[in-house]
């Protein structure tokens, strides 16, 4: 195979390393490519000359905020530092790789990660969201795992704003189109509406994959002589400077003023690519496979080489193109989807070829791994890149951006909800409850989730509307995993440190109520511009809060993603740290639903209720108020509660469990009743007495560490004893009723299930059909 021709031929007009030496002063568009003056100087420093235009292209995308984490790096370190050896026990691969890998026992492991595709999803919602799913799935695949499920975390603008429907339809269609076509069940997610996301919706996507321990792969090129092969879709002009540049810029408040090339996704190509990669892994013909996401070939080549501590020689003319007119710089930056880069030992090439041919996947050999700390890229006979790979991939700039306590913060925190009028009587309480369940944020999300395939694969044990998604990993033993993600932007805005802890606590609780044991954490940190010191303060607080909370709960962060520049004009979104918790369950047959189905079971409220209405759905949706401090959370108690739920589920004592979060006890009771259309009789008197609160707080406070469980009468004594032994506050507040068709809340109202359902289920279709 002849990749390189040393014979001197006619120059092609591209900017070569020779030119860079002979024309040192050539003007270069470093500013347009998003580099800062000192960054450009640093590149010249590293190379000892000016970069070629191709090198400049590579450095600019790889040093962008999105790819280099230059503003967040110093804070993300805590996730690796604030850990105990105990926390690392199940961690097979930690932060820094494509995705973290967690041992779940029986020789099996899972890998999971959540990533943002916010800006592309505003510009072209359908393709933006679709390719967001595609990208995260390739991350999971590159670890050697078979992707087994996805989830999506969405934040939209005000439901009745004229632009919201466009984004909602496009995003949901895009996720549905891509995820369904890949054959990955969608097992959960979040949907939140708030005008703060109007010009900058959030589209985060999570994927999880499973594998045997021995199938774990790390993407690196460490064996000189191995071939570097690009395969999958052809390289086109789509998304040039897309993800990386987009994700590193602030939007204009007027909407999509710039319309850069977006990427177009082909889920069919990706499905074929998944099967093809898994067969390649299985046959052992690849040393590693790197996915191509943001920064395309620039990223794949430099990261593979840098990870392996070796170098690489690449012939860029060998890249298969969709459009022959692409320049080398464009080829290096293209973010065309559904491509992968494999490192293949020379003697396995034949086998590699026969597998990719079987799947009708196109490929081309780009070059080989060399025992030298250089990445050389040729365009025909001319050298256009000659750099140390680490300087591109890993040793980018690191900033300690200025941090400032926000000017508005004190006023915001002092503006407590205490001054809001409480409901005066039973009628008003009932009205507020019915009003809350029918707000877009509390209402039924099945308008969205019904567009997602939750059955494919036949291993979905829980999905919407239950608190976590749960998926069986081993068909033999029933071993499975539960996954939940949460973020409350309002809480994080009021107090970013606490907000991040609360997000973790809620996701942790959502996993625990299913009977699974929380084991690992991922996150996607959605924030405004890092160049705004107040945003940077939020980021600093939130990362500290999350790292501290993980330490308190004893579960490690395995990876994540940072998305900055989420703002329109000068107005940043609420800080939105999406936190995902993964739990393990030895047999998914043991899982607990979120609602009650049997008649005559006792209903217990676990945990204590405080008067905590700041930042609540009640304050925001009934009184249009946001201020004060978010609820407090004691993570030691949270852990105790999770242990109790696990113990009780092992003993088969609980029939249902639903965590309390937005909307408090009132909403939780209605949701648990709606789950199987089985009513309940509830009394709040004992809660009022024990916790010293009023009815409004009893119904709507968002105090943490609370769960609503139903228990069969025969297990009553055992269950109460278990709570007492562990010191978890436990109060019987009602009984399930399968015949009345009512949710009766004593002294407040008898609500018809049909009425509740009508209010709850018609909201989304009313807005978007």
């Amino acid at each position: 195979m002849k990749l390189f021709n040393s014979k001197k031929l006619e120059p092609s007009g591209v900017d070569t390393t020779d030119n860079a030496s002979t024309e040192p002063d050539k003007e270069q568009p470093w500013q347009e490519l998003g580099l800062k003056q000192d960054e450009y100087e640093e590149i010249k420093n590293i190379l000892g000359r000016r970069p070629t235009s191709s090198e400049l292209a590579m450095y600019s995308v790889m040093w962008s905020e999105h790819c280099s984490y230059k503003s967040s790096k110093i804070y993300l370190r805590q996730f690796g530092e604030k850990v105990t050896p105990e926390m690392k026990k199940y961690l097979m691969v930690g932060m820094g790789e494509n995705a973290g890998v967690v041992d779940i026992g029986e020789g099996l492991a899972v890998t999971f990660k959540v990533e943002s595709h916010n800006h592309p999803s505003f510009i072209e919602p359908f393709q933006g969201a679709a390719t967001g799913v595609g990208g995260i799935v390739r991350d999971i695949l590159s670890m050697g795992a078979r992707p087994i499920a996805i989830m999506d975390q969405l934040r939209f603008g005000a439901p009745n704003h004229p632009d919201t429907a466009r984004v909602v339809h496009g995003v949901v269609d895009g996720i549905s189109f891509y995820g369904n076509c890949l054959g990955l069940p969608n097992i959960g997610g979040e949907t939140v509406f708030d005008s703060v996301y109007q010009g900058n919706p959030l589209v985060n996507a999570l994927s999880i994959g499973s594998m045997k321990h021995e199938d774990l792969k790390l993407a690196k090129a460490s064996n000189p002589g191995d071939l570097v092969i690009l395969f999958g879709a052809r390289t086109g002009a789509d998304g040039i400077g897309g993800v990386s540049v987009l994700a590193s810029e602030t939007f204009e408040s007027t909407g999509p003023t710039k319309r850069p090339a977006v990427q177009v996704g082909d889920p069919f190509a990706e499905k074929v690519l998944i099967e093809c990669c898994l067969e390649l892994f299985h046959a052992g013909v690849v040393a590693g496979i790197q996915d191509l996401g943001g920064a395309g070939i620039s990223c794949a080549t430099s990261e593979l080489a840098s990870n392996g501590g070796k170098g690489m020689r690449v012939q860029l003319k060998n890249v298969l193109l969709r459009d022959e007119s692409l320049t080398p710089e464009e080829i290096l930056m293209s973010e065309s989807q559904e491509r992968m880069c494999a490192v293949v030992p020379k003697k396995r090439l034949k086998e590699f070829e026969s597998i990719v041919n079987k799947w009708e996947v196109e490929y081309s050999v780009l070059g080989d791994v060399i025992d030298e700390d250089r990445l050389y890229i040729n365009w025909g006979h001319e050298e256009i890149v000659n750099v140390p790979p680490r300087t591109v991939a890993h040793d980018g700039p690191v900033y300690e951006r200025p941090v400032a306590y926000p000017a508005y913060q004190n006023e915001l925190n002092e503006n407590s909800s205490a001054k809001l009028p409480r409901a005066k009587n039973a009628t008003e309480l009932a009205t507020q409850l019915m009003q809350l369940i029918a707000t877009p944020n509390q209402a039924d999300k099945s308008w969205i989730t019904a567009q997602y395939d939750k059955y494919v694969g036949g291993n979905t044990a829980l999905s919407m509307p239950d608190d976590s998604g749960m998926i069986r990993v081993s068909e033999e033993s029933g071993l499975g995993v539960a996954l939940a993600t949460d973020a409350n932007g309002k809480y994080a805005y009021l107090n970013p440190y606490e907000g991040a802890r609360l997000a973790l606590a809620e996701a942790y609780r959502n996993v625990a109520v299913t009977g699974a044991v929380p084991r690992a954490v991922t996150n996607c940190l959605n924030f405004g511009s890092p160049e705004n010191p107040e945003v940077m303060w939020q980021f600093k607080e939130a990362t500290a809060g999350l790292a501290d909370a993980c330490l308190e709960l004893g579960i490690p962060v395995t990876g994540g993603n940072v998305s900055f520049y989420n703002q329109s004009g000068d107005v940043a979104i609420y800080p939105t740290p999406v936190v995902g918790v993964l739990g393990v369950i030895d047999d998914v047959a043991r899982r607990i639903p979120s609602g009650w189905q049997d008649d005559g079971n006792n209903i217990y409220l676990l945990g204590a209720t405080y008067d905590e209405l700041d930042g609540s759905a009640w304050a925001k949706d009934i009184h249009d108020h946001l201020g004060g401090q978010p609820p407090k959370v004691d993570l030691a108690k949270e852990k105790l509660l999770a242990d109790l739920l696990h113990g009780a589920s092992i003993q088969g004592l609980i029939e249902s469990a639903h965590d309390l979060s937005e909307g408090g006890l009132g909403i939780a009771v209605l949701e648990a009743s709606l789950r199987f259309n089985v009513g309940a009789r509830i009394w709040l008197g004992d809660v009022l007495d024990r916790d010293g609160i009023d009815q409004t707080a009893a119904l709507f406070s968002e105090s943490q560490t609370r769960v609503l469980v139903s228990v069969g009468r025969e297990d009553d004594v055992k269950f109460q004893a278990l709570c007492d032994a562990r010191g978890v506050p436990c109060l019987r507040i009602g009984v399930t009723d399968a015949t009345s068709g009512l949710v009766e809340i004593k002294d407040i109202a008898d609500l018809k299930l049909d009425d509740i359902r009508q209010g709850w289920s018609g909201v989304m279709s009313g807005l978007f059909d």
């Binding site: 549905s176 369904n180 997602y452 395939d453 494919v456 979905t460 044990a461 047959a589």
Partner: protein, 231 residues
């Protein structure tokens, strides 16, 4: 008892169909679209998914695959064939079944637990059902609206070739609430909903008594196994 399951590029529910066959007591045999050898199976399932990305029209490209051509040949001789969702679309594009399937009335992909009525329990795949039995199995499709000319519809009705009808809710705008049909001989059946997703308690649709415990889909596979044994 060997039942083949064809995998096209983009097929998704092939492993679920294989599981269903196993749970019903049969032996699933994976078949590859590009291979015209059907390995002497006693029946074939064309599973759900997005064969060839469902580009152009759902099932149109898969209808030209070597394995499909062999299915067409053997179906004429009586080989039992079940097309589920995308498999149904392939059967229609192959002209093994009449009519066509178009985009759902509401334009969206829809995934829900769907009630059906068994209208014809004399096909290879429905013999263990009672006539008019109501069953609950998942439905998930983007292009599941069944359409046919008036003449075809009349013929299907008259010849009792409507195998399943949607009950309570027509999810995709299908004519005459048609969820599935059969050929004249009763060996080829196609339907949009997914019986293979209601075969194992814990992973099927919710029922009035327990979460995800519906297994009404199992009878499809047991029916064909019984028929093969008897013949």
């Amino acid at each position: 008892m060997k039942i083949g399951v064809i995998t096209y590029p983009g097929t998704l529910d092939d492993r679920d169909a294989q599981r269903a066959i196993r749970l019903a007591g049969g032996t699933p045999v994976p078949l590859w679209h590009d291979d015209d050898d059907l390995k002497k199976v006693d029946a074939v399932v064309l599973p759900g998914g997005f064969s060839y990305g469902d580009y152009l029209r759902c099932g149109a490209i898969a209808a030209k695959a070597p394995a499909t051509k062999e299915v067409i040949r053997l179906a004429a001789k009586g080989l039992p064939v079940l097309g589920i969702c995308n498999g149904f679309q392939v059967l229609v594009e192959s002209h093994l079944l009449p009519g066509g399937l178009i985009r759902n009335e509401k334009q969206h992909f829809i995934c829900r637990d769907q009630k059906l009525r068994v209208e014809n329990n004399e096909t290879a795949w429905t013999s263990l059902f009672e006539k008019d039995q109501e069953i609950l199995i998942p439905l998930k499709n983007g292009e599941g609206g069944y359409i046919a000319t008036d003449d075809t519809l009349k013929m299907l009705e008259q010849e009792n070739r409507i195998a399943f009808r949607y009950v309570e809710n027509n999810p995709n705008g299908s004519m005459n609430d048609i969820a599935g049909i059969t050929n004249e001989r009763g060996n080829v059946v196609g339907l949009m909903p997914h019986p293979e997703h209601a075969v194992e308690a814990g992973f099927g649709p919710d029922t009035p008594t327990a979460m995800r415990s519906g297994i009404d889909g199992l009878l499809f596979f047991e029916s064909v196994l019984k028929m093969v044994v008897n013949s």
